[in-house]
Amino acid sequence: MLVYLDNSATTKVRDEVLKEIIDAHENYYGNPSSLHRMGHKVEKKIDEARTLSAKLIGAKPEEIYFTGGGTESNNIAIFGHLSNLKEYNNVITTNIEHPSVYNVFKQLEDRCLVKYLETDENGKINIDELHNMVDENTLLISIMHVNNEIGAVQELNEITAIIKRKNKNAKLHVDAVQSYGKIKIDVNKTPLDTLSFSSHKIHGPKGVGGLFIRSGIKITPLIYGGGQERGIRSGTENTTGIIGFGKACKLMYDNFDEEVNKLYGLKNTYIKRLEEIEDIKINSPIDGAPHIISVSFKNVPGEVLVHYLEDKNIFVSTGSACSSKSKDSRILEAIKLSKEYRAGTIRISLGHFNNFEEVDYVIDNIKKSVKDIRSITKRG
């Protein structure tokens, strides 16, 4: 049995998506910028994909811009909001962002004041702290919807309400790479300004991402060229990838409740079964995302457990590295997980292809491996 439980890292492309991609390579290989019919045909296909990806967040198709992936979307959005950044401005983010946001803000420290919101043990930011941080000089707030390591979900409605009340000109960017297609987002009800998402986290191909930019919001591009994607992302579109992504969006949209309920069911089952093991800690909050389970085992180096499980064809990821040379997880530190647990953290992340039949096999092997590893790491 092969059990892939690293869906937050990336997912397997669904068969229907693969078929669509092959069809695109065979029949829709023109350049959408070409004036002839071959180009026009592809342009129409891309616009269909735009409509399908917009639906998942209730956006208008023209508010969606395709990019090369989540990291690119985040960079375009953040730098794009800040073309008029002055030294007296400030920008705000959280200390649990994905590197594609966090490291951008680290860069910004040279140019203005950067403020970082802390999180509680559940990975939630403090709304009062946000309220105190936003002032008349705040230009941008960037907050991730779902954290990739523990699955904590931020309350976007509360957050937007506070920001708009304190400074109606401040912009809000949401990194929704982990929540897109898994948690309902409606940009009509949540007045965020930009939102990023990625194809390969929802069983689409790699190398495709998207950025929602609300009508009327001005984003200065990072890359200049042929003016594709209405100037926001120049460069010939990854047409076949985008067409495949559109299919992945449709599959998600058409069965949204069913898919998500299955993920929640699996997640709860895994958590219940993991709790049978001694000296563990579930780091994912109860109200977290449907597909992410972060669990820590005392006296078990996470990396070693990953290798034990890979030996049984079970694939999970670590939350933290075993070697003292590597850096500890910033996120696990942020949620104040104690050191003895931090080193023993793995992340189980679920996707469309997972099922309940796998649970026993996975849990049995986790139990066996943890017991084995502990017998080695415990002295005397």
């Binding site: 180096p301 990396e303 070693v304 290798h307 034990y308 890979e310 030996d311 075993c322 070697s323 003292s324 040379k325 590597s326 017998s375 080695i376 790491t377 002295r379």
Partner: protein, 386 residues
């Protein structure tokens, strides 16, 4: 410009009667090193080996490959011609023009060596003739027989070879001229360098790698394979054995003192290495130890580790500083691979305070808590050839 490379052998003359055998071996190695090139032929012509190519643009790459073979003292990129006097002169002028395009030449010298005594002109006379033609064609250069800017060498054998440059090589002795040794290859900086140094003295190398999967990652294996491949450019084909030490580490952890872990594990590694070496008719082991570098490489530690076996252990880096080792590692291009982050041993098995003055008696006492033979058999069942 160049269509052939003349390869001279190094210390081969030391080897008397075996010379022919080693020459043959070197030719095979040259062929192996150049297997990716098309239209290359390798042959002998009185005392030297020649590598001929139909693609002149490959010559730089060919020289770079051949340069790494031990037992060669220098290589000269050359122009091969027939022994027709006019053609030799024409080609020499052509070569001279090429040399002028690359460097500033004011003085030159022509040197001829005539192994073929049937060639109509004597060496000195022929040099004078060709030199005169050069002066006719390039009025701005002069002859200087003592310290010329460039010396053009015309070697008249079965064919004629014209060259001007001697590229220094690594020296050493041809591989296989000195038996075979087993290198304890970790993913670190030192052991590949140690293997290189011993191979340079004509020793063929097999390698042995210890890991503790699943306490280490598969990427660590990949890293060692990469190091092996880098070494193979110098050492020829290397057989790489791997052994999983996990069972031994488990036993040490359970029955022995933590601070003794490294010494005990190293003693096991030596025993396993000796066993594999004996089974494969290998005479010595090689380690990358450098005196005092880490706890297991103090005088006392080395003595206690060595005590475990009878086979001699070559330690070519024993007197080198880390910086000197790194310099060689960079030269042989193993350094960048060695510093990749994947360890061959998990920090779980590294003691907080390793012994630096181990006592043989107490180490032996600890070992008596373990079934040494059984453990060795157990881990040898994980033996793989990577």
């Amino acid at each position: 410009m160049y269509n052939i490379a003349a390869v001279s052998f190094g210390e081969l003359f030391l080897k008397g009667k075996n010379r022919g055998k080693f020459e043959q071996k070197l030719i095979e190695q040259i062929k192996y090193a150049l297997k990716e090139f098309n239209h290359v032929s390798v042959y002998k012509d009185s005392g030297k080996v020649y590598v001929e190519t139909k693609n002149e643009e490959d010559m730089d790459k060919i020289v770079e490959k051949v340069r790494k073979i031990f037992g060669i003292s220098n290589i000269s990129p050359s122009v091969k011609t027939s022994k027709d006097v006019d053609i030799i002169i024409e080609k020499t002028i052509e070569l001279f023009r090429y040399l002028l395009s690359k460097e500033d030449i004011k003085t030159f010298k022509i040197k001829t060596k005539r192994s073929d005594k049937e060639f109509p002109l004597k060496s000195m006379d022929f040099s004078a003739l060709v030199g005169g033609k050069i002066l006719e064609n390039f009025s701005f250069v002069k002859v200087d027989v003592h310290t010329p800017d460039v010396e053009v060498f015309i070697d008249i054998k079965k064919c004629c070879y014209i060259s001007s440059e001697r590229i220094k090589t690594l020296g050493g002795l041809p591989l296989g001229s000195n038996g075979k040794a087993l290198l304890l290859l970790s993913g670190g900086i030192d052991s590949p360098v140690a293997g290189y140094m011993i191979a340079k003295r004509g020793v063929e190398i097999d390698a042995l790698y210890f890991h503790t999967y699943p306490f280490t990652s598969e990427r660590a294996n990949e890293k060692v394979i990469k190091l092996k491949q880098k070494l193979e450019e110098y050492c020829g084909k290397i057989k790489l054995y791997s052994v999983n030490m996990l069972e031994i580490h488990k036993a040490i952890r359970e029955f022995c003192k933590e601070e003794e872990t490294t010494i005990l594990a190293r003693r096991f590694m030596m025993r396993i290495a000796e066993k594999i070496a004996l089974e494969n008719k290998i005479d010595m082991l090689i380690t990358g130890e450098s005196l005092g570098q880490v706890a297991s490489q103090t005088m006392k530690s080395m003595a206690v580790i060595e005590d475990a076996i009878n086979m001699p252990i070559l330690k070519p880096l024993v007197g080198l500083d880390k910086s000197e080792i790194i310099e060689i590692a960079r030269e042989i291009d193993t350094y960048e691979t060695s510093i990749l982050p994947y360890d061959d041993c998990c920090s779980v098995f590294a003691p907080q305070h390793p012994l630096i003055n181990p006592k043989l008696e107490s180490i032996k006492r600890s070992e008596s808590n373990l079934n040494v033979e059984e453990l060795i058999e157990k881990v040898l069942s994980t033996l793989e050839i990577l």
